[in-house]
Amino acid sequence: MPDASLVLGIETSCDETGVALARIHDDRTELLVDAVASSVDEHARFGGIIPEIASRAHLEAMVPTIQRALGEADVDLGQVGAVAVTAGPGLVGPLTVGAAAAKALAVGLGVPLHGVNHVIGHAAVDEMVHGLFPERVMALVVSGGHSSLLLVDDVATDVTELGHTLDDAAGEAFDKVGRLLGLPYPGGPHIDRLAREGDPGAIRFPRGLTAAKDQARHADDFSFSGLKTAVARWVEARQDAGQEIPLHDVAASFAAAVADVLTAKTIAACRRHEVDTLVIGGGFSANSQLRELATRRCAEAGITVRIPPIRYCTDNGAMIAALGAAVVRRGLPASPLDLAVDSSMPLTQVTV
């Protein structure tokens, strides 16, 4: 018999096939299992995500990953009370595979389907790590594809997008600077590694949208394009002069600029909106400078910072099960079976 408190979450917005099971308790949401199959090795050959390859991998991984999750949690599929799935944003083909699978499960099990927002899932997953959210939290979601600042009054019903990147996402800026420096894809981890041995104060790269003139319109927005161009021109000037590029210092100074802007703007937003809890999620929250700086600055500002362990920051089914559980907990209506995936789903839309 279906158990209404048991939620199965499916995530396929990019290149990880994630299936997780969450159990809703009165005072917490418990993660029972989080199974992930990744096609990232296939992509590494190609230097990044190729949508068609990811979609093919999702199709092959879907049933085995569901079975693995059920087996590890010792749960029978018939006990699942609701199915949650990423409806967007993300890659259309991969999203389509997950949505079709979730719909078939919902039809086959006779249980409700909940299409939810991937980016908000990156925040919601922390409810299973550090407990249910207080009334109001700020969420900074930073990844290869997103850099967004969200004011979360209710994670299932009331999310306001305060700001986002106007050009490159933080992770994307890292990858592009990685290109400039001749590092392999993805550049993020390489720059992070180089940066640890460099001087973050060596080069004063610009902090995008922090000037007084940008405060009115773009106080909560990010821009990393100007920073990227500055790094490009700095490197070009050095090359033109026949000088060697100090990779460690460039990486450290660049990473410092990104972490500085992200944390300064986020903390300013917390103050402005009188929020005392900050959640940081998304794959880029693995970045060590961001973690260190956010922890230090939040402590100084009296803000509680919640950053889930790295395995819950990257894409996974747990984030979708967590958000699905939040939706079910509030008794929200099911999504229609004809729900369409949405590659550019607005971040104010939690459910479909």
């Binding site: 190729i50 093919r56 199709l59 049933v63 699978a101 078939a104 499960l105 086959g108 099990l109 006779g110």
Partner: protein, 240 residues
């Protein structure tokens, strides 16, 4: 004992089929209880699940009474085909019933051969986009199968993907009746009857018979094309 059969290789179609065993497998006794067909190139993942609910509702069949799920494995353009396959696989998982895959072109061939002579051959062509066709040539497996009875088929050529011109040049259609939606696309090179399309009930019958013979019917997709986005060979110039 109903089966659910679906195909997303061209149109999106779903049929609820009464298990007609024991045969004979007359086309007139396929026993379709309810069916839906939508002619759409996209939106497969949106439309399919509601169509499944509709056929179950119309025939007043409880999903828990389904005995198997049958799915067309293509060949077909990627996104829509995957929606059908993942739907069939996960639905079967949820219901705890087997899932059977049948090449979509074989269903078209079996249907076309039903009313042709014992020795007849058909070339089935469907739209592969990019100005190409999926094609496969078939005949009856057992020439003794009487006319009017849905025959098991055997592939003589294909399935493959190629342009209509190339198919014409290699004589793919010579001596065969051309059928399938692809026959309407390049009539100057390959003309035939485009009205013969996949009937999920035919997929279901072929699957049941193969199950009786103990054949395995994997649901692997027939993409017939590699993921055509190839990686960048060298480093591009990123600096000005």
């Amino acid at each position: 004992m109903p089966l659910l059969a679906l195909d997303t290789s061209a149109d999106i179609c779903v049929s609820l089929v009464a298990d007609p065993r024991p045969g004979p497998w007359l086309a007139s006794t396929l026993g379709t209880l309810a069916s839906r067909r939508v002619v759409e190139q996209r939106r497969h993942a949106e439309l399919l699940a509601p169509m499944i609910e509709e056929v179950l509702g119309e025939a007043e069949v409880d999903r828990r009474d389904l005995t198997a799920v049958v799915v067309g494995t293509g060949p077909a353009p990627f996104t829509g085909l995957r929606a059908g396959l993942v739907t069939a696989r996960t639905l079967a998982l949820a219901l705890g019933v087997p899932v059977h895959g049948v090449c979509s072109l074989e269903a078209v061939a079996a249907q076309a051969l039903t009313d042709l002579d014992a020795a007849a051959e058909v070339l089935v062509v469907t739209d592969a986009r990019r100005r190409e066709l999926y094609a496969a040539r078939y005949r009856r497996r057992d020439p003794a199968t009487p006319r009017g009875e849905l025959p098991e088929v055997v592939a003589l050529d294909g399935p493959l993907v190629d342009s209509a011109v190339a198919l014409q040049e290699r004589g793919a259609a010579q001596g065969a009746t051309v059928v399938g939606a692809g026959a309407a696309l390049h009539p100057e090179h390959l003309a035939g009857d485009p009205e013969v399309v996949v009937d999920p009930a035919v997929l279901a019958v072929l699957a049941l018979r193969r199950a009786e013979r103990g054949e395995s019917m994997p649901t692997e997709p027939l993409y017939l094309r590699r993921p055509d986005v190839t990686p960048s060979a060298g480093r591009k110039r990123v600096s000005g």
